[in-house]
Symmetry: C2
Subunit: 349 residues, 2 copies
């Protein structure tokens, strides 16, 4: 039986996209003068199958997971922060919670693999597949069953979002050590050395960076035989990364555009695009992170990010920050006057 | 008597700025991880004199003016478009009108110097100083009295915005040919050659670019003796550019932060900063325009733009697009939980 994540997503509706692009050219502004916002709306039109797309119902899902590799001192924060932040997401004090309120977005908090959380936690879905991954410098991060289960957690969240009428999906993540896992995935998928994707994450010092480099080197050596995207995800990924990847695949399959956050989310998006090439036509990229490894991941996906603000917070926060831009672009596309309608001359001199 | 635009603005409140920066560091996120948004909010706090600044009441003023140099074929559009767009601003169909509605912002449309408008026009303030400027390849663009009057039009708009309780000012412009005037101002103020600030504006072809280059060369040669910022503005500027410059000076004098739009607005901001150095502490820069000459103007002002989306529309549209980012940043600063309050560990490993 073929895995669910291999089923090809539908293509966005090219005719509607072309009509949306033509609409831009008739509005009272110089052609192309709204820059990359025009392209984003045109893509949304094709994805949503609507001449004038809208972003009314944003669904944000935050996936939390812990990482065995964290024991090697690759993060500036202790592992318990993953669980503490679950409560902070649900309690409304985390950045993404503030932003979700501002956007009127639905926010789902999902424990896919924390070590320390004790459920039930109010406002947190307990979908824990395991209490963290194995240290991937020593063993595969996950069993095949765990990776499959985590992919399905993401897909189930997308199904719920779709059923609730979402017109844009944002996935976020929380997991102490997960820039190391994201970098490992990126290195393996792009056949790049650790240096290409190494970065300070939430604020690692030089000694921490050296430990992170060593961990990446060990992990890539140990799992060099992993070739398929699924095996790479299983050996070098994380539970929240797998859930994100599953969510991106499921969103594409459900015709739901996804707005990808920063470094870690983009690593998961690259996994999703390698699991299923049709995913890429359903992705938007919100921002270019301060994490230096983000650029090669975006390049590999052909992604042009909307924002570049030196963000490095995660949680889907950069994606949430880009939503008002997309909403404004949709409003411009839907509401601006046409040259004909406004009696404005288009005659070149 | 010293001109009103020479009166030094107050300084932003450094103590409040420092307290706002300290507040960022206590919130549940890695220090500095909201990147440039943190800096923007810290500056707003100092400007507004409030620990947690807000952007509730945005006031947008669009200044329209025509340019004698337009007769030299330096724009892709005929001059009548300036007046046609006045009606489109007031009628709600222009980009800035759509964005102002989205933001709940006040929008004032001001004719400072169109050639063709016939007043009264519903929704347009008739503050016309002259029916366009003189062709500055042949003569100074404005008389001293005209330049002074246009500066004062901008200041009066800011006074009205302040009286109405505005907490952020956005100036926009409309004027066929005004990228040529903005480039001329930039070249004169930065002692740069035409090539450094030449660009296609709303979409000039190669022949048009050659005409624009020639016009800039002629104008800079003719007015090379202009040394003071006021004389440079008078000889090489435009009525809407002068109004914008006056608005930026007046905003700083009234402790009102201003969010600067793209190439033309930044040229006016550079005029304002040269007229009165204290202005610069009250400016924020919304975006980096697709117009190649924008970069040297931003650099001269030490400005770090929030957005970079290949916009080249003007009308204040890029500034309006950046407002939701600043609002989101203010909400994060005001509403996020502290490490202490949320019981989240800050202990480094």
């Amino acid at each position: 039986m073929t895995a669910w994540w291999m089923a090809r997503p539908p293509r966005p509706d090219a005719d509607t996209g072309a009509a949306a692009a033509a609409r831009w050219d008739g509005l009272t502004k110089p052609p192309g003068s709204l820059g990359r916002l025009e392209h984003a709306v045109t893509r949304l039109a094709a994805q949503q199958g609507r001449l004038t797309p809208t972003i009314e119902r944003v669904h944000i899902a935050i996936f939390a997971g812990d990482h065995g590799v964290a024991q090697r001192g690759v993060s500036a924060y202790p592992q318990v922060v993953t669980s503490q932040m679950l409560a902070n997401f649900a309690g409304g004090g985390a950045a993404i919670a503030v932003l979700a309120r501002q956007l009127g977005a639905a926010l789902t908090i999902v424990d896919v693999g924390s070590v320390h959380a004790e459920h039930p936690l109010p406002g947190v879905l307990d979908r824990r597949v395991a209490r963290g991954t194995a240290d991937f410098t020593q063993a595969p991060a996950m069993t095949a069953a765990q990776a499959e289960a985590a992919l399905s957690v993401g897909a189930a969240c997308v199904a719920a979002a779709r059923a609730a009428g979402a017109d844009l999906f944002i996935g976020g993540e929380m997991g102490i050590g997960n820039t190391t896992a994201a970098a490992a995935l990126g290195c393996a998928l792009l056949a790049a050395p650790p240096e290409a994707l190494l970065g300070p994450g939430t604020g690692l010092d030089a000694a921490g960076l050296a430990r992170k480099h060593e961990a990446l080197t060990l992990a890539l050596a140990r799992h060099g035989a992993a070739r398929s995207p699924f095996e790479i995800l299983r050996c070098l990924g994380g539970l929240e990364l797998a859930a994100l990847a599953g969510a991106y695949v499921a969103a594409a399959q459900a015709r739901l555009p996804a707005l990808v956050d920063g470094f870690i989310a983009t690593a998961a998006a690259l996994v999703a695009a390698r699991l299923n090439a049709g995913v890429i036509e359903w992705l938007h990229f919100a921002h270019r992170s301060a994490e230096p490894g983000h650029a090669p991941l975006l390049d590999a996906l052909g992604g042009c990010a909307l924002l570049d603000l030196d963000l490095r917070l995660g949680e889907g926060s950069g994606a949430a920050l880009a939503v008002p831009l997309l909403r404004a672009a949709c409003a411009l596309h839907a509401e601006m006057a046409t040259f004909d309608g406004a009696g404005v001359s288009t005659t070149a001199i």
